[in-house]
């Protein structure tokens, strides 16, 4: 057994705390918003310039002037404010956003992250990913444990061009959860999906990690 994308998102949602300002990356990370506990109030930020993102609009509510960083139509809330992209990235770079959940191509055991380009393929650009990993206080990566070719994505070192160095605090895959208390510490395996053995995690992981409880 392994976790579904929704289960991975739900696991990431457990990391939310009341009052957090959170930036969710494009793709699986956006699912995290569906799993926020009822007693937790968070504010979602979209780096193009929205603080206080609402749900997708009904057909009648669609407004081309309200889009998120994935260029999807969204809505505003009673707490919403709009800012310029400079001010929005000021929030990010200045450490005012507590948590970001992002996808990744590779994570290294030292916390390096690669998620923006594959040499030989057309490069689309980093967008806001480099800013987010450099500025947000805590970075959680949601990714499949293995890539499409069956190779581990949590590695000794990234083979792809980096998005940031020593920036990842937690890795949630379809098989397991790795965490470290600070960026000077090694990652530690803290949870496995139901039926996933420690050996299976070891086989599917290139990165060194500790195991908790030891």
């Amino acid at each position: 057994m392994s976790w579904t994308r929704d289960q991975m998102a739900a696991r990431a949602a457990q990391e939310l705390r009341d009052g957090y300002y959170v930036n969710l990356g494009i793709g699986i990370p956006t699912l995290v918003a569906n799993h926020v506990a009822p007693d937790i109030d968070i504010t979602l930020q979209s780096e193009n310039g929205i603080l206080g993102l609402g749900a997708f609009p009904t057909e009648a509510e669609v407004d081309p002037d309200i889009i998120n960083a994935g260029k999807q139509t969204v809505t505003e809330l009673d707490r919403t404010s709009y800012v310029s992209s400079a001010d929005s990235f000021g929030m990010i770079r200045g450490g005012h956003i507590q948590l970001s959940v992002l996808g990744a191509m590779e994570v290294a055991e030292n916390g390096d992250l690669a998620n923006w380009m594959v040499p030989g393929k057309m490069v689309k650009g980093p967008g806001g990913a480099m800013d987010l990993v450099a500025g947000v206080r805590r970075i959680i990566v949601l990714m499949d444990h293995l890539d499409k070719a069956g190779s581990p994505k949590f590695r000794r070192a990234c083979t792809l061009p980096l998005t940031g160095t020593n920036v990842v605090d937690m890795v949630i895959t379809n098989l397991a959860v790795f965490e470290r208390p600070d960026r000077a510490s090694p990652f530690r395996l803290i949870e496995r999906a139901p039926g996933v053995t420690l050996d299976r995690v070891r086989d599917a992981t290139e990165a060194h990690f500790e195991v908790s409880p030891a």
């Binding site: 780096e47 310039g49 407004d63 999807q72 709009y82 310029s84 400079a86």
Partner: protein, 236 residues
């Protein structure tokens, strides 16, 4: 009083374009882009442009139109993923790209407009983006130096303007427009609504008139949506 309002995008661009110039454009994706002025730039025939814009439009809309007519030599952007024409020209070596992380690009525009030639950021440290750029240690962390951007011309889209050039943006269509407006040696704004002097509360102005030299009513307000995501009204 100097008249800032022009009759058309063509009239506003008159005398302002020349081959090889650098143009900064507001907008994020297809949201808040100066559609009217982009079309006028296509018609102007100006060539070898360097365009500073977070995105490059799509094949047949936004800055994609200027790419299709091969009027662009170089883009400075953070993400150009939605444009196949871009890919074709880039792979053929006809188009140059300088990637700037999105927040760094926004800050580079703001810095250029505010007389700051360079600043330090953690964004991109240890990545390809930092190659060839000076780095410095502040309080134990490493930062990379990025340069402010000043363009020959800025084109922006706003919701409302008064005749003094005071601009108000609408919702997330604000995005890169305020910084773009500050970093052009000349800035031309296209607006959905031109309102009377005094109709904008002085506390609600997003871009003060000092940054806007010319102003037109936008005639293209298509506001194409890239990802139309909706939920059922009943589930609401």
């Amino acid at each position: 009083m100097v008249q800032k309002v022009y009759d058309s995008a063509g009239a506003a661009l008159d005398g302002m374009v020349r081959d090889g110039m650098t143009i900064v454009a507001g907008g994020f994706g297809l949201c808040g882009i100066p559609e009217t002025l982009i079309d006028a730039l296509v018609r102007s025939g100006v060539r070898d442009l360097t365009i500073v814009s977070n995105n490059a439009g799509v094949d047949d809309f936004g800055l994609g139109r200027l790419l299709r007519t091969r009027q662009v030599r170089k883009m400075i952007s953070s993400y150009v993923g939605e444009n196949r024409e871009f890919e074709r020209q880039y792979l053929a070596g006809d188009l140059e790209i300088e990637f700037s992380p999105q927040g760094t690009l926004a800050e580079r525009m703001r810095a250029g407009g505010a007389g700051i030639p360079a600043f330090f950021t953690r964004t991109g440290v240890g990545t390809q983006i930092a190659i060839g750029k000076p780095t410095a240690d502040f309080d134990g962390d490493l930062y990379v130096m990025e340069r402010g951007i000043v363009a020959d011309l800025a084109i922006v889209k706003a919701w409302k303007a008064d005749p003094y050039g005071n601009l108000v943006y609408r919702k997330s269509a604000r995005n890169f427009n305020p910084m773009a407006a500050t970093c052009g040696r000349v800035t031309i704004a296209e607006v959905e609504q031109l309102v009377d002097p005094g109709a904008i509360d002085p506390d609600h102005v997003h871009t003060p008139g000092v940054f806007v030299q010319r102003l037109i009513r936008a005639t293209c307000n298509e506001k194409r949506i890239e990802q139309r995501t909706t939920r059922s009204a009943h589930a609401a």
